[in-house]
């Protein structure tokens, strides 16, 4: 039935969107943390320059 299919597609799409967000967060958050820590360290150079 079309309605049933639509619901399934909608659920699958929502699930995929959540997975996509989680996957990017899992790699993005540590990377962002590393970048911020590196920039903090780099401030010493900007101070000296």
């Amino acid at each position: 039935m079309p309605t049933y299919d639509k619901t399934n597609n909608g659920t699958a799409r929502a699930h995929e969107t959540v997975m996509l967000a989680l996957a990017w967060l899992a790699v993005g958050v540590p990377l962002l943390w590393g970048i911020v820590e590196t920039l903090k360290k780099a401030m010493a150079l900007f101070g000296a320059a």
């Binding site: 995929e16 997975m19 996509l20 996957a23 990017w24 899992a26 790699v27 540590p30 990377l31 943390w33 590393g34 970048i35 820590e37 590196t38 920039l39 360290k41 780099a42 401030m43 010493a44 150079l45 900007f46 101070g47 000296a48 320059a49």
Partner: protein
């Protein structure tokens, strides 16, 4: 279990979102990128017995240096030896193997630190971890190229950016863990390695199980493969790894990668000492550490930006930029030092390092253009021996030239000038090697199955 990990088990269902694949690749590369931050353990490892300060029987820095060298040599060799296997078995199985080697490498190394047996560090981190590095490095390449035929450079650049980014995470994380575990009787390195081994194993396994390969014949909606005439270097055919190494194009690209990496690695390894000696009295150790961190950022960003840029202007033109601009910048570094401008000096070196990273990230797409997509992981694996060679050659060259200068009475702040000119010379050779790259001759094309665009038929054959 082996069947569950195989390529046939991970063919994506229709409608699968291809943007789920880059995070999996990043999960692998962010972990193995730790290799760039290994030096953070150097000093604590030299006082494993003395803890507060080195005592008789403690390891020397020269002995510890071999751990990294072994890991880089193992990286090149394992990528070359297992490239074909990685290609045929698919990213999940090879991702699991890479995760196991990398995680176990840390655990064996931790045991070596605990027992104070250096050979266990060589075996664990150097050989086992090095195999994890090599297999992990090439694992996502062909999968990403298959999912992003329209953005080969960007997709592989994103993954390989993770290798640069891994050091940015590993360095402060290792520092934090060592401080947490340190005690009057321990430097905390062994415990740190246990934690890192377990975390990396879990993270890389997560990435490995997320991989999917596109169904045979899949292509992005609305995308049409460019014609041969539109992009002269982009082939529709495939060249087997065995045939690829018989072509002049492979060896020209080997020189291109090797010289680009040699020049970059030489500067990267000496960056801290170089800026302190060139600007003596103005740049202290802390500011120099900030400079090294900044280089790490440019190394990472260059991987993504340059590789993405190569999708617009082509791979050959991108490498032309690396070599032409790089030569000019290397020649400018001594002048920047002489002018006393820290900002100009730092800007030159940062740009150089962005192109060093860009060189790594653009090469898989270049190989896919020249040799086809079907065996790109295997060909890439063989080409990574250029990295191993550069890993040994680059630092030796820089150290030797610098020492020769100092021994002949050149002031330390000028001792790097000749090195910079030698690096510029290497880039000139790289420029001409890149210029000589032409499409592969027809006789090397794999004609057995009249491959369609971007290896679609090839994937089917692997699955059969």
């Amino acid at each position: 279990m082996a069947g569950y990990l195989g390529r046939e088990q991970i063919i994506a269902r229709p409608g699968f979102n291809r943007w789920l694949i880059p995070p999996c690749a990043l999960a692998t590369h962010l972990c193995i990128g730790q290799a760039y931050a290994l030096s953070v353990f150097n000093l604590p490892l030299t006082r494993q017995l003395g803890v507060a300060k080195p005592i008789a029987g403690d390891w020397r820095l020269t002995q510890l240096g071999w751990i990294f060298t072994l890991a880089i040599v193992s990286l090149g060799l394992s990528a070359a030896l297992f490239g074909k296997w990685v290609q045929s078995e698919g990213p999940r199985k090879s991702g699991v193997v890479a995760a196991s080697c990398w995680g176990l490498g840390f655990l064996v190394g931790a045991l070596g630190i605990h027992l104070h047996q250096l050979w266990l560090l060589y075996l664990g981190y150097g050989v086992l971890g090095g195999c994890g590095l090599g297999i992990g490095y090439i694992t996502p390449v062909s999968t990403l190229i298959a999912w992003f035929p329209d953005r080969r450079g960007m997709s592989t650049g994103m993954a390989i950016m993770g290798f640069g980014g891994g050091a940015l995470i590993a360095s402060p994380l290792s520092d934090f863990l060592m401080r947490h575990f340190a005690s009057p009787t321990s430097t905390g390195v062994a415990q740190t390695w246990v934690v890192l081994g377990i975390v990396y194993l879990a993270f890389m396994l997560g990435g490995a199980f997320g991989y999917r390969v596109p169904a045979p014949g899949w292509k992005p909606e609305g995308w049409v493969a460019p014609s041969d005439k539109a992009q002269a270097l982009v082939t529709r055919y495939n060249v087997t790894p065995a045939d690829a190494i018989r072509t002049p194009q492979f060896w020209l690209l080997w020189v291109v990668l090797c010289f680009n990496v040699t020049a970059g690695i030489g500067v990267l390894g000496q960056a801290s000492a170089m800026i302190q000696e060139v600007f003596k009295g103005r740049i202290n150790a802390s500011a120099a550490a900030g400079f090294v961190g900044l280089l790490g950022l440019f190394n990472m960003a260059g991987r993504f930006l340059w590789a993405s840029f190569s999708d617009k202007i082509g791979r050959k033109a991108t490498y032309m930029c690396f070599f032409a601009l790089g030569t000019a910048l290397y020649a400018l570094v001594p002048l920047a030092g002489k002018s006393g401008s820290v900002a100009l000096f730092a800007a030159c070196v940062c740009l150089i390092i962005s192109m060093y990273g860009g060189g790594f990230a653009t090469i898989p797409a270049y190989l896919a253009d020249v040799f086809g997509t079907k065996y790109v992981s295997a060909v890439h694996g063989r080409l990574l021996t250029a990295w191993s060679a550069a890993g040994v050659f680059g630092p030796v060259l820089v150290n030797y030239i610098r020492q020769f200068q100092v021994d002949h009475g050149i002031p330390k702040n000028e001792a790097y000038n000749v090195t910079m000119y030698v690096m510029a010379g290497l880039l000139v050779i790289g420029f001409f090697a890149n210029l000589a790259v032409k499409p592969v001759a027809d006789r090397y094309h794999e004609h057995s199955d009249s491959i369609g665009a971007h290896g679609a038929r090839g994937d089917r054959r692997v699955m059969a």
